[in-house]
Symmetry: C2
Subunit: 300 residues, 2 copies
Amino acid sequence: MSKSNNVYKDAFNRCLRLLDETRSLPSEPELGTLLGVSRTTVRSILSRMEETGLIAWNKRDKTVLRPPRTQDFFPEEETDSLAEIIERSFMRRLLAEGAEAGMQINELELAREIGVGTTSVREFLIRFSRFGLIEKRRNSHWVLKGFTRAFALELTEIREMFELRSAAAFAALPEDSPVWADLDRLEVEHRQLADEIATRFNEFSELDERFHRLIHRASHNRFIVDFYDVIAMIFHYHYQWNKAQERERNEVAVQEHLAYIAALKSRDPGKVDAACRKHLKSARQTLLSSIPEGRQAQLA
Amino acid sequence: MSKSNNVYKDAFNRCLRLLDETRSLPSEPELGTLLGVSRTTVRSILSRMEETGLIAWNKRDKTVLRPPRTQDFFPEEETDSLAEIIERSFMRRLLAEGAEAGMQINELELAREIGVGTTSVREFLIRFSRFGLIEKRRNSHWVLKGFTRAFALELTEIREMFELRSAAAFAALPEDSPVWADLDRLEVEHRQLADEIATRFNEFSELDERFHRLIHRASHNRFIVDFYDVIAMIFHYHYQWNKAQERERNEVAVQEHLAYIAALKSRDPGKVDAACRKHLKSARQTLLSSIPEGRQAQLA
DNA sequence: AAAATGTTTTTTCACGATAAAAGACATTAT
DNA sequence: ATAATGTCTTTTATCGTGAAAAAACATTTT
């Protein structure tokens, strides 16, 4: 099979959505930057759009002939990259019952189960290993360390260290730094979400990530910024799996964020520290309380 | 070529050194644990030792017939794993003149240059990416961020945060913890090295790593412990490349370590903090001063 | 001449295949 | 009965290969 053309399919779908808005498409290089793909892929997309009668394409002229229909789109599942597919399968296994610490991970078995080559699985596991949940035995298998209470505590310890420092750096940023505008925009989004929390509570996690990433970026330290990937990954899958009191949790978190934002804007180090600590404390509580009892025993 | 038998060759060489000490070799499983390889590899080693007349092998009986000669050993370079070979080549390039930040890294070119398959290079780059020196453009090349002054500052910032915390945790460890014995042993080694620093100064870097790893382990946090890999890697290659004032540097560092050890043993948080800060400060100075001027300009 | 399109080359991504190494199972010795 | 040896099976590490995607080069259009 060698390589799937998911990049093309995904870009094609995104390009279809562009069709709704305009009468004609921009130049090839421009489309490339817009979709984040190379001109080669852009041209494949245009070829297909021409074939299926979506556009008339003649050199610079790319006129939209008809609006896209549902059947013009490639199925969603064909637009995922192999890495995403492997990650999902792996996380499902990891968070499923019976994924005990100390368990062996078998590349070949994983690859067969998911239906992909071993190379892709190996590369995924290497990338994934930085999250601290698995470990390699040289020339041999991987060992699952387990999503335990110990893991959550170690993760939050670093998170708290990094975020307190980043928040302090943020508050010390000069008045004319563009981050203050970013923060204002996020504040507006938070207020809007707070007003409609009853129906939109599930939109919080995306906002949460953008907010914390903005703060971490103020550290100007690649290790701190990169570490947020670990947190984001854990939160992403964890909350997908644990939906208990999601609305209440997010409602509280939004308010904490607003207080945190106000503290940052006050630029008072003491206030920033307090608001940050308060939010991190409840974030830790939330994470810990959602680790099932069975997993807490896996400390050994 | 598929896979080199460096594991076997390396274990064989190590096993040869064992021959000097005994009249007969232990059981296969025992040898396996001793050498850190499987029984399959142990049996290959024994086979060859029998063939070359080093031992007489009959089931449980493995009698040493003659001491190993120089030509019995496999050449050193054949005992390196592919990963080590790639790492060395890559680091040579990275630390060589002309490795400017922003430069592209080409998997295929690297693979051809080193004479290995692309898969191994890819896997190496993925593993290496956690050091924060390179970054992947999806579906495209890697970008070198460069071993710049900024990198060194970001690295030391985290290091200082982590080590101060670990040192505090260390000092708070109960009297009966086995780490105190470990520390005592390290203290003795430090004193011995201090006495013969004029001739043995190049042995410091190995001792340095063991000392700091012991302290970091007291944090009981996998992220802190793992982060020392980044520091160790940088120091390893960096000092291999920059030998200026090595003796003086190490002499100072040994003394700082001894003061640091004394502070830890006093279990006084204030003293520990002070000694730790002092050492970390001079470590940072050493690292920064060894970044050539040309590289400092690469901040952008 | 700058920017687009058309064409060709190179690189990345993913696979199956194969030898090395690990691991499992069967047999034998203490 | 335990622990070793002998044998067979499975998994890991690595390569070459080929399609997808990117990038480079050449040509045309504005």
